[in-house]
Structures are given as structure tokens and as C-alpha cells.
């Protein structure tokens, strides 16, 4: 009994933590979709959705219901197994980084050692993150890079030339911009000296500039552009350029399978927004906040969490704003830009950071 409890207890804690993170992320994602439609409407001089619920707030749920009740069409000549695998892969890989999002600072709680079997031994803190992985940055980059398969395989298995073109384009685009993105992160990692996200936030709070966006401005710029390309958003939404490719890789997908791709895209947007916030904007850290509240208290954690969410939503707003403003790139322009401008720029940034860090440490 004791043995089983000891094995199961951390698992249960992890599952509860994952569920809370899941609810938060899905809530934000659902309302990102509504915000996108509303803000795009305002940018284009329209009203946007306002029929379902007051001010259209129930629109995401209406959309979801519609996707669930639609007829699910499967093309006759498709490669069935891979056709079904692709949306699952896309949404799973998008959700996996959730476990390392640092939602806020740790809360100091009561001593939990009164729990039976020594389950609460030494637990005095409630971290607002599911898992503190030593290599969190690499984990996020790796898992999102596996997400490419969802799109590439969807394009291939649909047995449709538009889908195939969309899938090929997206995989080419994502592997090209992944390099620039990885290189832009190296500068931050070198300054912080750790790959762990909470560690990076703590390192920023101790650095003279507070936020790494100031010493790593080039890195931030490269990261931002690569993030737009990684998530296949305007101005880099070549994989689903509707004037050329109908709907790109998901032309043949309908109902809930299409909804999974859709969700995957928006969760990916959330992920890169979290990464941008944590790496360059100090995550949940706000200069001066520790003077107003005691560090480790619940109000401090709540305000930090809200600050974190405001920063992430700022990123998401930028996505929508740019979608309403910029036209689309041409594919050769996109490739040239990524390989001949963005990647060298990121590498120069790495070199500069190496030199600065070397002289700071010596």
C-alpha cells in the first residue's frame, strides 16, 4: 500500500498540474481565436462576431460544437493510417511544451510533512510549473520541431496536389526557420547560464538590464520573425496560401480533424509567445514588484501570474495585428530571407554575445 502510494502520489500531482495548465492554455487559446476575429474585424472596419452570447463571448464554443457535428469526410484514395495520425501528431506536439511553462513564482506554503507515509516530506513550496526540466529550452524546441510531421504527413497522405504542395512548403519553411530560432535563443542561454526556464527568469531579475530584450535586441528580432514563420502565420503563411493552394495541407480535412490542426496552430502561437516572454521579456518577473509584496506570498504569485499572462497576450495581439497589416511573402523571398539574412544575423548575435560574456567573466 505504502509503496503504491509513494509511486502514485507524484503521478497524481503531475496529472493535476497538467490538467490545470491544460485548462488555462485552452481557455487562452479559445479566446485568442475570438480576439483574432474581433480585432481583425476592427482593423478592417467590421464588427466581428457578436451574435453568440453578449459581445460574442460564447463564439469559441459555438465554433467547437459546429466542428463536432459536421460530417467527417475522408478522401477515398488517401493513405488512411497516416491521414488519421497527422492531426493527432500536430496537436499532441503542440500541447507537450505545456509542462514547462513557468506560469509564476513558487508559493511558500505550510509544511506538508503531516501527510501519512512521508509523502509531503520537505515540501514547503508550490511551484507554478508542472515540471522543472534541466533542458527545458531544448525540450520545447525539440518537441515543436517534431510537430512539423503533423503538417508534412497531412499534406502527403491526403493524395491531393494542393495538400502536397502545402505540406512540402511548410516542412521546408519550418526546418529553415528552426535554425534561426535556435541560434537566436543561444545568446539568452549564454547570458543566463542555464537552459531551465525559471532559471532564465531568475537570471534576468538579477541582471543589470532586468529584461534580456535590451542586451539581446538582435536575438529578440530574429526570434520574433522566426516565431512567425515557425507557426505559419502571416506574413509567412505560405503553406495555406489560399489564392494558390486552396487551403494548403488541410484542404482534405474536415470536422474535428480540421479543428485539431486549427487548435495545434493556436497552441503553437501560445507556446512561442510564452518562449518570447520568458526568454526576452522576463517572464513573470516585474521590476519593483518584490517591494510591494513579500516574495513567496500568494498575492505576489497571483500578480506575477497576471503579469505573465498580460505579456503573453501582448505577443498574441502582435500576431493578430500583423495579420491585419502585412501582405504575404513569395516562397523564394521567404527562403532567401531565412537562410541569407536571418540565420547569419542570428550567428553574428551569438558571436557578439560570446565576446561580451567572455570579457564580462574575465
Amino acid at each position: 500500500m505504502e509503496e503504491i502510494l509513494k509511486t502514485a502520489f507524484p503521478l497524481i500531482v503531475a496529472v493535476v498540474g497538467c490538467s490545470i495548465a491544460f485548462v488555462i492554455v485552452m481557455g487562452v487559446v479559445a479566446y485568442t481565436v475570438l480576439a483574432e476575429r474581433k480585432v481583425l474585424g476592427w482593423i478592417q472596419g467590421r464588427i466581428g462576431p457578436n451574435r453568440v452570447g453578449p459581445w460574442g463571448v460564447l463564439q469559441p464554443f459555438a465554433d467547437l460544437l459546429k466542428f463536432i457535428f459536421k460530417e467527417d469526410l475522408v478522401p477515398d484514395k488517401s493513405t488512411k493510417f497516416i491521414y488519421f495520425l497527422a492531426p493527432v501528431l500536430a496537436v499532441t506536439c503542440a500541447m507537450m511544451p505545456m509542462v514547462v511553462y513557468p506560469f509564476g513564482p513558487a508559493i511558500t506554503t505550510i509544511d506538508w510533512s503531516f501527510l501519512p507515509f512521508g509523502l509531503g516530506e520537505g515540501i514547503r513550496q508550490l511551484p507554478l510549473v508542472v515540471a522543472r526540466i534541466d533542458v527545458a529550452v531544448l525540450y520545447v524546441l525539440g518537441v515543436t520541431s517534431v510537430g512539423v510531421y503533423g503538417i508534412a504527413l497531412a499534406g502527403w497522405s491526403s493524395n491531393n496536389k494542393y495538400s502536397l504542395m502545402g505540406g512540402l512548403r511548410s516542412s521546408a519553411q519550418m526546418i529553415s526557420y528552426e535554425l534561426a530560432m535556435g541560434a537566436s535563443v543561444i545568446g539568452v542561454v549564454m547570458l543566463a547560464g542555464t537552459l531551465e526556464l525559471n532559471g532564465i527568469i531568475e537570471a534576468q531579475s538579477k541582471s543589470p538590464f532586468r529584461w534580456y530584450i535590451i542586451p539581446q535586441f538582435i536575438g529578440f528580432l530574429v526570434f520574433l520573425i522566426a516565431a512567425f514563420a515557425e507557426t505559419n502565420r502571416v506574413p509567412f503563411d505560405l503553406p495555406e496560401a489560399e489564392t494558390e493552394l486552396v487551403a494548403g495541407f488541410h484542404t482534405e480535412y474536415s470536422a474535428l480533424k480540421f479543428a485539431l490542426f486549427f487548435m495545434g496552430e493556436y497552441i503553437n502561437m501560445f507556446t512561442v509567445s510564452v518562449m518570447g516572454t520568458v526568454l526576452f521579456l522576463g517572464g513573470w518577473y516585474m521590476p519593483g514588484l518584490s517591494h510591494l509584496f513579500t516574495v513567496g506570498s500568494i498575492p505576489y504569485a497571483v500578480v506575477s501570474f497576471l503579469i505573465f499572462m498580460v505579456k503573453v497576450c501582448g505577443f498574441l495581439f502582435l500576431y493578430i495585428w500583423i495579420r491585419g497589416t502585412l501582405p504575404r511573402f513569395r516562397f523564394d523571398q521567404l527562403m532567401n530571407f531565412g537562410w541569407k539574412f536571418l540565420l547569419p544575423l542570428a550567428l553574428v548575435n551569438v558571436l557578439l554575445t560570446i565576446i561580451v560574456v567572455y570579457f564580462l567573466n574575465s
Binding site: T79, V135, G142, V146, Y149, A152, L153, W156
Partner: protein, 192 residues
């Protein structure tokens, strides 16, 4: 106990994916199975407390190399109906290599069983810091050699893929046309 269960889960998954890699006729199914092998291996690395190696395994193999493989398969769109008869001799080579691997595995089992059972002291092996410091102090020369090797591969790739200048291009096209012309004449003669 949980670690053992996880090990058998991921090891079984890795073996199943490996078998499916070999047995599928469709190259894309094989590629997807190979990705499954890499991902399950990286899960095993995590249970062995080597998160850095696990992350790099996913990032490099599953995220970069296999994407290129899938990309090429998708571009070529190979005909999967045609069985490949000309690779039959590879069965013998494969059997030989498999036998060597089996002997090696038994040797490792033997060595592990024979080895003195002393507890490992807590060390940072597998952590990013220890790997980094080992790479740039103790194993600097091998890292440099691998770096030069990769640089050579990059330069080779650029040279193979670069656009030819106009006179060179014309030369290549002329050669190719001449060759085709000869082939056509041969065909013509055979047909006669």
C-alpha cells in the same frame, strides 16, 4: 518499480517500431516508424536521468534528419507496388551484422554480470553542465575533429548543390544532349 515498467514500455515500443521500419513496403511508413524508434529511445534516456541527450536525440534525429528523409520521400513519391529484387544480397549482409550485434549484446550482459557491484556516486553525468565542460576540456580534440568534418560536409553540400555558371551549364547540357543522342542512335540500331 515505475522506472522498470516505463523501461519495458518504451523498449517494447522501440523494438516494435524498429520491426515495422524494416518490414513496411511503403518507404514513408518506414520513415514514420523510425521516428517512433528515436522518440522511444529518447524516452529511455530520460528514465536513465540523461535529459540533455534525450532532448538532443529528439531535436537532431527526429526533428532534423528524419524531416529531410520524409521530405525526400514525399518529393520523389516512390512507386510502392514494385518489389525491390536487386537488394536480395543485403539479406546475407544483414544476417552477418545482426549476428555480430547479438554476440556484442551477450558480451555486454556478461560484462555487466561479472562487474563488481559498487554503488554509483551521485554525479552530474547527463546534465548539460557536465556534458559541456567535458566537451570543451577533456574531449576538445575529438570535438574539433568532428567540427571540421561537419564543415567539410557543409562545403561539399554547397558545392554539389550550387548553381553552375552559364558557360559551365552549357557544357553540361551539351554533354548530356550528346549522350542522349548516342543512346537514341543505339536504340534505333537495336530496333532495326
Amino acid at each position: 518499480m515505475a522506472t522498470t515498467a516505463l523501461f519495458f514500455l518504451f523498449a517494447g515500443l522501440a523494438i516494435a517500431c524498429a520491426i515495422s521500419t524494416v518490414y513496411h513496403k511503403n518507404p514513408l511508413y518506414s520513415a514514420v516508424s523510425l521516428i517512433g524508434v528515436f522518440v522511444s529511445l529518447s524516452c529511455i534516456y530520460i528514465t536513465l536521468a540523461a535529459p540533455f541527450i534525450a532532448a538532443v536525440q529528439v531535436l537532431v534525429y527526429a526533428g532534423a534528419i528524419m524531416v529531410l528523409v520524409v521530405f525526400v520521400i514525399m518529393l520523389l513519391n516512390l512507386d510502392d507496388d514494385k518489389p525491390l529484387q536487386r537488394l536480395n544480397y543485403l539479406y546475407a549482409v544483414g544476417a552477418g551484422l545482426g549476428l555480430i550485434l547479438l554476440v556484442q549484446t551477450f558480451f555486454i550482459f556478461y560484462a555487466v554480470v561479472k562487474a563488481p557491484n559498487k554503488p554509483q556516486e551521485e554525479s552530474g553525468v547527463g546534465k548539460t553542465l557536465s556534458i559541456g565542460s567535458a566537451m570543451y576540456t577533456e574531449y576538445l580534440l575529438p570535438v574539433e575533429i568532428v567540427g571540421v568534418l561537419l564543415l567539410m560536409a557543409i562545403i561539399g553540400g554547397v558545392i554539389l548543390a550550387r548553381r553552375l555558371s552559364q558557360p559551365e551549364l552549357e557544357l553540361v547540357v551539351d554533354n548530356e544532349l550528346e549522350k542522349r543522342h548516342e543512346n537514341d542512335q543505339d536504340d534505333f540500331r537495336i530496333a532495326m
